[in-house]
Amino acid sequence: MKATIPVSPRDQPHEGMETDQLMIRRAITGDERALRHLWTQHAPHIDAVVRRLVGDPDLAADIAQDVWMQIFRALPGFRGEAQFGTWAHRIAVNRTLNALRKSRRLAKIETDMEEDTAMVEMDDEAPFVAESIDQAAACLPPGARTVFFLHDVEGYTHEDIAAELGITAGASKSQLFKARAKLRRLLAHLVDGPQPARNRSHVAS
């Protein structure tokens, strides 16, 4: 497993760190309550990472299960140099990308995005914005979705993404900007100001 993706900016120190350390020590001995505590505390983030990178709900559930098993299997090797959340996050990303490679879902990472494929019904009344972003991102090709989530949601740099995905930083940027352009249209109800967007012409930048 490659360890090229650095610490996510999301993984900042938190109040539960000492609890995590205690729980990790107990979890390594097989204490069920400690294992469950770690899962309860970190599953919302870890599962979200997997779900967003994978897209397909059924495949995401299987990969997330595998990710958690790998996290627990690797617990004895956790030395505490990083926070548990950071460490688990790295496993989640690497394991998920490996799984996606195996399923060839990243095979088209370098291909251009298809225009307006699989438009989704957007619900303006959706109470959770993140759900709408997830819905919109489901319309993106796998490679573009992966780049979008790694960069805009997880906070990785293009260089990190390029190293992990085996593409150039330029390709990562290209995929990201195309993904944003499409998401901006799909999520107009979320990001538009008071005036609606109009048809536009363009200048060279």
């Binding site: 999301r10 001995t29 097989g30 204490d31 069920e32 309550r33 294992l35 469950r36 899962w39 309860t40 599953a43 919302p44 983030h45 599962d47 979200a48 997997v50 779900r51 967003r52 709900p57 995401a60 559930a61 997330a64 299960q65 958690w68 098993m69 627990f72 299997r73 959770f128 914005v129 993140a130 759900e131 972003i133 979008f148 989530f149 805009d152 949601v153 997880e154 940027k173 290209s174 900007f177 195309k178 944003r180 352009a181 998401l183 901006r184 999520l187 979320l190 990001v191 538009d192 100001g193 005036q195 967007a197 109009r198 048809n199 536009r200 012409s201 363009h202 200048v203 060279a204 930048s205």
Partner: protein, 258 residues
Amino acid sequence: MDHSRLGTDHMLHLEAERLAALADDEITAAERSHLAVCAECARELSAYVALRDRAYTEGEAGSTITSWTRLAAQLSAEGLIRRTDIVERRERSARAVGWMQAAAALLFVAGGVTMGWMGARVSASRNPIVAGSADVATASQGVSIVSVGGSRVTDTLARFTSLVEAQAVLTRAEREYRQAMTYLASNDTTTATFRNSDVYRARLAALDAMAGAARDGVNELPHDPIMNQYYMSTLAAREATLRQLGGTLPAGVRLTRF
């Protein structure tokens, strides 16, 4: 992409993907000049910045897609979990139920043997080989009829007036039961079936399993007299079966029920 010109200003706008890039890229001088005079491009850029910010700030929200039940099962299968919570208590309870079922079966067998032995003891005057020194029926007695060797004989059923009295009788009966089992194992020549060593081996295997369950019960409740009695009874039956398996069974003894 729509390359149509806007109505009155005849201004070319920034590409959508460039505006998307400008959410975090540096703006060139030309782009800055354009954005300064083009409200629409400025609004588009604001939308991309808002999209980027929302993606990051809302990124943490999400429900779990894993199930602890499924994870715990796999962890258990791989030996990575030590069940310490209510699940373990439930499993222990389930094991106790299984143990109690085994114990109940043993009680049924032991009760049959004890009653048979007691019946034989009543007829000791007619069958001197079944000799017992204890008089179990010292409490006030009821009367019942049992069959010994095909004949009807009178048996005694004990009734008790206190817990202490009942406990004393139970302890004595237990001790005598074990003694009787050992004796019968050495002297019983009942049927040809029991001469078949396979029967004794099968019984021995069953008793071993029961002794294991009874031992678990004793370990869990080491001071419980019932648990200890079951355990000792099982060991006595096992010892008796071992003797029978040895094949030294003199003639002259009939066991009424077993």
